[in-house]
C-alpha cells in the first residue's frame, strides 16, 4: 500500500509539467524514503532525476517499494483538472494497475478523484554518481530561462563558460552571434543574486534544445544551480525547498560529431 498527501499539490503538477516534453513514459519509484524518478529522456540524450523526500509530504506511507509506470502526458492531463490551491493525494495498491489521484480543496470542500491507468515499463534505472564539480553557479531560474530562450534564436548550441569574471553564454549561428555575460553579485533579495563557486574555469558546449527543455522546471524553484566540470555532463538543478529536487544532466558536445543532435 502506498499513500502520500502533499498539501501543496501544485509542486507535483509542476514536476510532471517540467518533464512531460522530455519524457513520455517513466517509472515513479516509491520507497520508504520518498518518491523519485530517474530516467533518460525519450531521445536518450539527457537524464532526469527527480526526488521528493517523504518529509515533504504531510502524510506518507509506503509499505514496500513500488514502481509506478506513468505516461507523463496522460498524468499531466489529469493535473490540468487540479485547482491552484488543491492538495493532492496519491494512492496505489501493492501490485497496482491504477494510480488513484485525489485533489482536495479545503475552501470549497470538494474532493475530486481520478484513476490513471498505469503502464508496465520495462527499463533500467540509470543515475549519474555524485561527484565534486569545479564550478557551481547559482542564479535566478527565470533569468536562466530567458537567456536560453533568447539564444535559441541564434543557433543550436551554446557555450557556457565560467570564469572569475562571471558566467558567459555564447552562441553562434547562421544569422550572427550572441554573447551574454552575468557577473556574480548579491542582490537585495536572496533569490535574485548570482553566486559562483569555482576551483578552475570551465568551458563547455551544449545543445540549446535540451537546455530549453530543462527550463520548463523554472516554476519549481526561484534559483537554479548549474554544476560543471570539464568533459563531464552539466547538472541543471532546481531544488524544491529542502525536501527535493529536479535535476537534469546533459553531456557536453564534443567537437568531432554532431551525432547527438
Amino acid at each position: 500500500m502506498f499513500e502520500a498527501r502533499l498539501a501543496n499539490g501544485k509542486t507535483l503538477k509542476d514536476i510532471i509539467e517540467s518533464i512531460k516534453d522530455l519524457v513520455n513514459d517513466a517509472n515513479l519509484d516509491c520507497s520508504e524514503e520518498g518518491i523519485s524518478i530517474q530516467c533518460m529522456d525519450s531521445s536518450h540524450v539527457s537524464l532526469v532525476s527527480i526526488s521528493l523526500a517523504a518529509n515533504a509530504f504531510d502524510h506518507y506511507r509506503c509499505d514496500r517499494p513500488l514502481s509506478l509506470g506513468l505516461n507523463s502526458a496522460n498524468m499531466a492531463k489529469i493535473f490540468k483538472m487540479m485547482g491552484k490551491d488543491d492538495s493532492v493525494v496519491l494512492k496505489a495498491e501493492d501490485e497496482p494497475d491504477n494510480l488513484t489521484m485525489m485533489f482536495e480543496n479545503d475552501k470549497t470542500d470538494t474532493i475530486a478523484d481520478f484513476e490513471l491507468k498505469l503502464m508496465d515499463i520495462d527499463n533500467e534505472q540509470l543515475g549519474i554518481p555524485d561527484t565534486p564539480y569545479k564550478c557551481t553557479i547559482q542564479m535566478p531560474a527565470g533569468e536562466f530561462q530567458r537567456i536560453i530562450r533568447d539564444l535559441q534564436v541564434l543557433g543550436d548550441a551554446c557555450t557556457i563558460s565560467c570564469t572569475k569574471e562571471g558566467i558567459r553564454f555564447t552562441v553562434s549561428g547562421s544569422i550572427g552571434t550572441g554573447n551574454i555575460l552575468i557577473r556574480a553579485h548579491d542582490a537585495e533579495k536572496e533569490e535574485n543574486s548570482v553566486k559562483i563557486e569555482m576551483e578552475e574555469p570551465v568551458e563547455l558546449s551544449f545543445a540549446l534544445r535540451y537546455l530549453n527543455f530543462f527550463t520548463k522546471a523554472t516554476p519549481l524553484s526561484a534559483q537554479v544551480v548549474l554544476c560543471m566540470s570539464p568533459e563531464v555532463p552539466i547538472v541543471v538543478d532546481y531544488p524544491i525547498e529542502d525536501t527535493g529536487f529536479v535535476k537534469f544532466y546533459l553531456a557536453p558536445k564534443i567537437d568531432e560529431g554532431d551525432e547527438e543532435e
Binding site: 516534453d21 522530455l22 513520455n24 513514459d25 517509472n27 519509484d29 520507497s31 530517474q38 530516467c39 533518460m40 529522456d41 525519450s42 531521445s43 536518450h44 540524450v45 539527457s46 537524464l47 514496500r64 517499494p65 513500488l66 514502481s67 509506470g69 491507468k117 498505469l118 503502464m119 508496465d120 515499463i121 520495462d122 527499463n123 533500467e124 534505472q125 540509470l126 543515475g127 549519474i128 554518481p129 534544445r209 535540451y210 527543455f213 563531464v232 555532463p233 544532466y249 546533459l250 553531456a251 558536445k253 564534443i254 560529431g257 551525432e259 547527438e260 543532435e261
Partner: protein, 1137 residues
C-alpha cells in the same frame, strides 16, 4: 608516315574514338594490316596460301604468353566451321545487333546476276550497314550490307503542278540543296564530293495526318550520309526556291520521316524485324577471306541491301538461334571506408558464365583471380599475379568466347565501366602497364574497335528518370538484368539477392564490400570463398534471365514491333509504336510528318483520363462479380476507327459528308471504317489477332522453349497494343494527337457508364430477378457488380449472362468479359480493395489486393505483414474477431520492443537531388528543398564511415528512433545496424501512429466502428519496454551508472545486499527459472537463425558474412539475438553471486 600513325594511336588511347560514322571500320582495319592500302591481288595471294584456315584465331596479335589461356582457347571458341564456306547455299542468320559505318563502296556486286552496285559509285565514302548475327549452327556472322542510302520527304505546296516538275527542275533543286549542304558543313573534315544523290517527285503518297490533308505531293531527297538528314531538314524547313513560276522565293516545306534512325529506315524498307531471321540467298553474297576480314566473327559476308530476304517470324522462323550469352561479375578490392573507385582500387576477380540459348547448363564457367585460389568444382580458375595480366587474360577470353549478348547485374553502370576505367588508370601508372593494356578495351567484334562509354540520361514516363553509362561494344548487345527488373517488376528491393529469392528461390551471400578486401588479403582458401561468391553472382543473372524468359520476351518484342533489341534496352516505349506505324504507312502509301519537339509544355494541354465510378465502401460477404472490357483502349480505337488518318479536322468538317463520319463523345470527328480504315485500327487488329494466334500456339507448343517463345510473343503483342494509345497521348512524343487520345478516354467513360446503366436496369426484381443488382464500383475498364445473391454458382451464371448481353449493345470488337468473382470483398476506397478471387466455382484462386500497403515499398515489412495477415484472417478465414486480436497482439509486441528490427526497416532510394545534402560535387541547393529522412541519414552515415555509407542510387534502409519532442523525422532516422550495435530505442509509437494506423484504419473502417478506439488504443498498448543504449563517445551513457534494481520487481535495491528486494527473495527460484527461460528462448532462436543462415548460404564451417537486409538469412535478427543473449546472460550471472 610515322607522325601520322602516332596521331592515330593517340586518338584511340584517348578513349574517345572517332565517331563510328567518320572513322569508319574499314579504314581502321586497313591501317591495322599495314599503312598502305592493300590491293586486291595481294589479298587473293594470301587467300590461296592458307585456304582452310577460317577460325577467327587471333593468337598472333594477342600475345598473352600464358599456357592456361592457350590451352583453354579451344574450349572457349564457338563450334568450328565444318568446311570452307562458299556462297553456294542460302545462309540463314538470326541477327541481333545492327550499326552503320562509313566506308568505301563495293567495287562489284557480289551478286553476279546484277552488274551494278546500287547507290553511289563515285568513290566517296558510303554508309555500310553492319548486321551481326548467328546462324543455326551457332556460328557468328557479320553481314556488310551495301548500297542503302538515307532519304527524306518534304511536302510540296498544295497547288504545286506535278507536270512542272521536269528533269531540269529536279537537277536545279538537287544542285541547290547540294550547295547548301556543302556550305552547312563546318569543317573540311569529311567533305564529300556529292551530298544529294537524287531528287524525286512523289505524287502517290499522302500525309497520315487527317482524313483530308493538304499534303499529297512530296519531294523525296536521297542523301549520301545519314548525318546529313537533320541538316537538310533544317535547310528545307527554312525555305527553298523550287524554281518554278509561282513557287520561287524561299518556300518553307514541311519535313516528313526525317526522324527515323538510319538503321531503322533500312529495316522498315526491307521489312526486316528486330532479331528476326534473314536469308542471304545463294550466290547473292560474297564470303570474305581471312585477310579481308574486319571482325572476329567466324563468317563475314558482303551483300547489297536488296538481296537480303527478311523472314516473317512465324512457323519455322519463330526459332531462336544458339545465341551465346556471357554473364559477368567483377569483385574489387575497396579501401576501408570507401566505395571502390577505378582510379585506386584493383579488380581482383572476374567471374564469367557463358550459356548457349537452348541449353540448360552453362557451356563455360570460369573465374579470373588475382593471386592464387583453390580449385572450384565445375569452374575453371585462372589466376594471375598481376592485375594487368588478369585483365588481358579476361579480354582474350571475351574475344574467344565471342558472346552475342553480355549480361550481368548492374554491369551497365558498374562492372563494364569499372573494367574500362581500371585499365585506363593502370595504363597511366607505368609505361609497362600501358603497353600491356594497350589493347584491353578491344571488346568489340570489329577488329580494333574499342568499347566506348558515354553518360546518358534516360527519361521515360513509364520507366522514370535514370542516369546511365552507355557502353558501345560493336556487335554485342549489353543486356543488363538490373534495369530489366526495375522496368518490368515492382519490387521492394532490387538487390540481386532479393530479386533472386523472389524469382528463383535462391539466395546468395550478400558480402559487404568492406569484407572483400580482407578475404582477398587472406589465404588461397579465402579467395576461393570469394571466387565462389563471385561465380554465383555471375550465374544468378543468367538463371534469372532464363527463368523470366527475358531474352525471349525481348526478342519477341523486337520481332513484333520491328525495332532492334538494343532499342528496347536503351529507348522508351514510343519508338516501338513509331516503328509499327511507319511500317504500316509504307504499305498504305502514307507519310509521317516530323513534328517539331514540343518542349515539356504538358501542363495545360492535358485531357480527361479514365473514369472511376464512386465506390460504395463496405465489407461484402456476398459474391461480387467483375466484368472487364477486354483490351479496352485498343478495341475502342478499332470500334470507332480512331486514327490520325481518319480524323476530320474541325475546319474540314463542313466539307465532309456527315454520313461518312461519327462524332466522338467529346466532339472529335473520325470517318467510318468503311470510308477509310485507319492505320492504328489496322495495326491493333493485326496485333490482337496475332496475340490470339500466339495464345493458341502456346497451348499447342510441344516444348517448353517453344511455349516460352509464344508466351513472350503474346505478352509483347499485348503490351504493344496497349502502348498505342499512350503514343497518341504523349505530348513530347514523335507524333502526339490529343484528339485521338482524348476520344479514347471519353469512349472509355461512356462504356463504363453504359454498362452500369444496363446492369442496373436489367437485373431488377421488377424484371423477375431475385434481387436488384448494384454496381458498387468501377474503374477504367471494369465494373464490380453485386447481383445480390449469396450463392457463388448463381453469381457466376448471372455474371456470364450479363457480360454477353452487355457486349451485344456495344459495337464490335468491344467485348465485355466476365472474369472473376470476389467473395468476400473488402472495398476500402477508389483503387483500394481486397478480395478473395474466384475464377472457378469450386476453389478460390488467390487473394487479390489493390492499392494496399502489401505491395508499396515505402512502408516497413511490419505494415505489410500485419495487413497481409489481417486480410487473410478476414477474407480467407472470415474471422474478423481473430484479425482484431491479432492486430492488438502485434501492436503490443511492437511497443514492448519484441518486434524484429528487420520488420521496421523502411527503405528509400537516394535519387537525384540528394547530391547537395551529401556534399557531392554538382549538388544544387535548388534540387534539395525539403530535408528527407533517408538523405539526411545517408549524409550522417557518410560522416561516420564514407565507405559503408549508401551511394547515390542505393536504397537506404533506416528505422525511426526516439528523439526529442518536436524533432523532425529526418533527425530520427537511423541506420538499422547502428541501432542494433548501440541498442538505440526505436520509436515504437511513431510506427504505430505513422505507419500502422492509417492502413489499419482503412481496412477495418468498413468492418468495425471507431477503429481508433477499439484497435489502436487500449490495454494492449500499456506495456512498453525502453532499452538502455550502450555507451559511446560523447553520450551521456558514458557517465551514467545503472542502478541496481530487483530482478523480480524492479524496485531499487542496494547492490551490496544482492539482486532481489526483500519482498522477492522468497520467490527466488521462480524468478531464476523465468529468467532462465528467457535465456533458453534466445539461445534456441539463435540456433534456428544460424542453422537457417547456414542452409541458405550452403556453408557449415565458415562464417556467415551476409549483411543483406533483403536476405532470408535474417541478418538483423541474427544481430539482435546476439544482443539478447548477452543481456540474458548478464541477468543470469547475477544469481551466481
Amino acid at each position: 608516315m610515322t607522325t601520322n600513325k602516332r596521331q592515330n594511336d593517340a586518338s584511340i588511347s584517348d578513349g574517345i574514338a572517332p565517331k563510328r560514322i567518320r572513322g569508319g571500320g574499314g579504314v581502321d582495319a586497313m591501317n591495322f594490316v599495314g599503312d598502305e592500302m592493300i590491293d586486291e591481288d595481294f589479298i587473293e595471294m594470301i587467300e590461296e596460301q592458307n585456304p582452310e584456315d577460317f577460325i577467327p584465331d587471333d593468337v598472333e596479335d594477342f600475345d598473352d604468353g600464358d599456357s592456361v589461356i592457350a590451352a583453354s582457347r579451344s574450349k572457349w571458341l564457338r563450334p568450328p566451321l565444318e568446311s570452307r564456306l562458299t556462297n553456294e547455299n542460302d545462309l540463314n542468320v538470326q541477327w541481333l545487333d545492327i550499326d552503320m559505318v562509313a566506308g568505301p563502296p563495293l567495287k562489284r556486286n557480289p551478286n553476279r546476276k546484277k552488274s551494278v552496285v546500287a547507290g553511289n559509285t563515285n568513290g566517296q565514302q558510303v554508309p555500310i550497314i553492319r548486321v551481326y548475327g548467328v546462324n543455326e549452327q551457332g556460328h557468328s556472322i557479320t553481314m556488310f550490307i551495301h548500297g542503302f542510302t538515307p532519304y527524306a520527304y518534304f511536302a510540296l505546296p498544295q497547288q504545286f503542278p506535278a507536270k512542272a516538275f521536269t528533269e531540269k527542275v529536279k537537277k536545279d533543286i538537287r544542285r541547290l540543296l547540294d550547295g547548301r549542304l556543302r556550305n552547312a558543313q563546318r569543317s573540311n573534315h569529311g567533305k564529300l564530293n556529292e551530298y544529294v544523290l537524287a531528287v524525286q517527285y512523289v505524287g502517290d503518297h499522302r500525309s497520315i495526318m487527317g482524313y483530308e490533308t493538304s499534303h499529297t505531293q512530296f519531294l523525296k531527297v536521297h542523301l549520301a550520309m545519314p548525318t546529313l538528314v537533320p541538316t537538310l531538314k533544317r535547310i528545307v524547313e527554312g525555305g527553298i526556291d523550287l524554281g518554278i513560276p509561282g513557287f520561287t522565293g524561299e518556300i518553307p516545306l514541311a519535313a516528313f520521316e526525317c526522324n527515323v534512325p538510319f538503321v531503322l529506315r533500312y529495316m522498315i524498307d526491307m521489312d526486316i524485324t528486330g532479331a528476326g531471321w534473314l536469308t542471304l540467298p545463294q550466290e547473292t553474297y560474297k564470303v570474305r577471306s581471312k585477310n579481308e576480314k574486319q571482325t572476329h566473327c567466324q563468317i563475314e559476308v558482303d551483300i547489297t541491301y536488296d538481296d537480303v530476304v527478311a523472314r516473317k517470324s512465324e512457323g519455322e522462323w519463330n526459332k531462336i538461334a544458339p545465341i551465346r550469352i556471357l554473364s559477368v561479375d567483377i569483385e574489387c578490392q575497396g579501401r576501408k571506408g570507401h566505395f571502390p573507385e577505378a582510379e585506386k582500387d584493383p579488380v581482383i576477380q572476374i567471374a564469367n558464365t557463358v550459356t548457349v540459348y537452348g541449353e540448360k547448363e552453362p557451356t563455360i564457367q570460369n573465374v579470373f583471380t588475382l593471386k592464387g585460389c583453390l580449385p572450384i568444382v565445375g569452374a575453371q580458375v585462372i589466376s594471375s599475379d598481376k592485375e594487368e595480366d588478369m585483365l588481358m587474360k579476361w579480354r582474350a577470353f571475351l574475344e574467344c568466347s565471342d558472346p552475342d549478348i553480355i549480361t550481368g547485374y548492374n554491369v551497365q553502370n558498374f562492372d563494364i565501366p569499372y573494367l574500362l576505367d581500371r585499365a585506363t588508370a593502370l595504363a597511366k601508372g607505368s609505361s609497362q602497364s600501358k603497353t600491356k593494356l594497350a589493347n584491353f578495351s578491344l571488346w568489340g567484334r570489329v577488329k580494333n574497335s574499342r568499347a566506348k562509354m558515354r553518360d546518358t540520361m534516360f527519361q521515360s514516363s513509364a520507366y522514370g528518370r535514370r542516369s546511365n553509362v552507355e557502353t558501345t561494344i560493336d556487335g554485342r548487345v549489353i543486356f543488363d538484368m538490373l534495369p530489366y527488373m526495375q522496368r518490368n517488376h515492382k519490387l521492394s528491393s532490387y538487390t540481386l539477392n532479393s530479386v533472386c529469392s523472389e524469382f528463383l528461390g535462391q539466395q546468395k551471400e550478400d558480402v559487404h564490400h568492406s569484407i572483400i578486401s580482407d578475404l582477398q588479403n587472406g589465404s588461397d582458401e579465402d579467395r576461393h570463398r570469394l571466387a565462389v561468391y563471385c561465380l554465383k553472382d555471375a550465374l544468378l543473372p543468367q538463371r534469372l534471365m532464363d527463368k523470366l524468359s527475358c531474352l525471349v520476351n525481348y526478342i519477341e518484342m523486337a520481332r513484333v514491333t520491328g525495332v532492334p533489341v538494343s532499342f528496347l534496352i536503351s529507348r522508351g516505349q514510343q519508338i516501338k509504336v513509331f516503328s509499327m506505324i511507319l511500317r504500316k504507312c509504307q504499305d498504305e502509301k502514307l507519310l509521317v510528318p516530323t513534328l517539331a519537339k514540343q518542349g515539356s509544355a504538358g501542363g495545360d494541354v492535358g485531357y480527361e483520363g479514365a473514369t472511376v465510378l464512386d465506390p460504395i465502401k463496405k465489407y461484402y460477404t456476398d459474391p461480387i462479380a467483375t466484368l472487364d472490357f477486354a483490351s479496352l483502349y485498343p478495341s475502342i480505337m478499332q470500334a470507332w476507327n480512331l486514327c490520325y488518318s481518319t480524323l476530320v479536322s474541325p475546319t474540314d468538317v463542313n466539307r465532309v459528308n456527315p454520313d461518312k463520319y461519327k462524332k466522338s463523345e467529346n466532339g472529335h470527328c473520325f470517318v467510318h471504317s468503311n470510308v477509310k480504315k485507319g492505320i492504328l485500327p489496322t495495326i491493333l487488329e493485326e496485333l490482337l489477332t496475332a496475340r490470339k494466334r500466339a495464345k493458341r500456339d502456346m497451348k499447342l507448343a510441344p516444348t517448353e522453349f517453344e511455349r516460352a517463345v509464344q508466351n513472350g510473343r503474346q505478352l509483347a503483342l499485348k503490351v504493344s497494343a496497349n502502348s498505342v494509345y499512350g503514343f497518341t497521348g504523349a505530348i513530347v512524343g514523335h507524333l502526339p494527337c490529343l484528339p485521338i487520345a482524348s476520344s479514347v478516354t471519353s469512349y472509355g467513360r461512356y462504356l463504363l457508364e453504359k454498362t452500369k446503366e444496363f446492369v442496373e436496369d436489367k437485373y431488377t426484381i421488377a424484371n423477375g430477378y431475385e434481387h436488384n443488382a448494384q454496381v458498387i464500383y468501377g474503374d477504367t475498364d471494369s465494373v464490380m457488380v453485386k447481383f445480390g445473391t449469396s450463392d457463388l454458382k448463381e453469381a457466376f451464371r448471372l455474371a456470364e449472362e450479363a457480360a454477353s448481353k452487355a457486349s451485344k449493345i456495344f459495337p464490335s470488337p468491344i467485348l465485355l468479359e466476365f472474369e472473376k468473382v470476389y467473395y468476400p470483398y473488402l472495398l476500402m476506397n477508389k483503387k483500394r480493395y481486397a478480395g478473395l478471387m474466384w475464377t472457378q466455382e469450386d476453389k478460390y484462386d488467390k487473394m487479390d489486393t489493390k492499392g494496399l500497403e502489401t505491395v508499396r515499398r515505402d512502408n516497413c515489412a511490419l505494415v505489410r505483414d500485419i495487413i497481409q495477415t489481417s486480410l487473410n484472417k478476414i477474407l480467407i478465414d472470415r474471422n474478423v474477431r481473430g484479425a482484431i486480436d491479432y492486430v492488438k497482439s502485434q501492436i503490443s509486441n511492437l511497443l514492448q520492443n519484441k518486434m524484429d528490427i528487420s520488420q521496421l526497416v523502411i527503405t528509400k532510394s537516394l535519387n537525384k537531388g540528394a547530391e547537395y545534402a551529401l556534399g557531392l560535387p554538382g549538388g544544387k541547393k535548388d534540387d534539395y528543398k525539403v530535408k528527407q529522412a533517408h538523405v539526411e541519414l545517408a549524409a550522417r552515415m557518410r560522416k561516420r564511415d564514407a565507405g559503408s555509407a549508401p551511394q547515390m542510387g542505393d536504397r537506404v534502409p533506416y528505422v525511426i528512433i526516439t528523439g526529442a519532442k518536436g524533432a523532425a523525422n529526418f533527425e530520427k532516422a537511423e541506420d538499422p545496424v547502428y541501432v542494433l550495435e548501440n541498442n538505440l530505442p526505436i520509436d515504437c509509437k511513431w510506427y504505430l501512429t505513422n505507419q500502422l494506423s492509417k492502413p489499419l484504419t482503412r481496412i477495418f473502417e468498413p468492418i468495425i466502428e471507431n477503429v481508433d478506439k477499439n484497435l489502436l488504443q487500449g490495454d494492449h498498448t500499456r506495456k512498453i519496454f525502453i532499452p538502455t543504449p550502450s555507451a559511446r563517445k560523447g553520450s551521456l551513457m558514458m557517465f551514467a551508472v545503472k542502478a541496481t534494481t530487483c530482478i523480480g520487481c524492479k524496485a531499487p535495491v542496494d547492490a551490496s545486499k544482492g539482486f532481489l528486494c526483500k519482498h522477492c527473495v522468497p520467490k527466488e527460484a521462480e524468478i531464476y527459472l523465468s529468467k532462465l527461460a528467457v535465456m533458453r528462448e534466445a539461445e534456441l532462436r539463435y540456433n534456428d537463425l544460424w542453422a537457417t543462415a547456414q542452409k541458405i548460404h550452403g556453408t557449415v564451417h565458415s562464417d556467415i558474412m551476409c549483411t543483406g537486409d533483403g536476405c532470408a538469412c535474417q541478418f538483423y535478427r541474427r544481430k539482435k539475438v546476439q544482443t539478447d543473449i548477452k543481456l540474458a546472460q548478464q541477468v543470469l550471472d547475477k544469481f551466481g553471486r
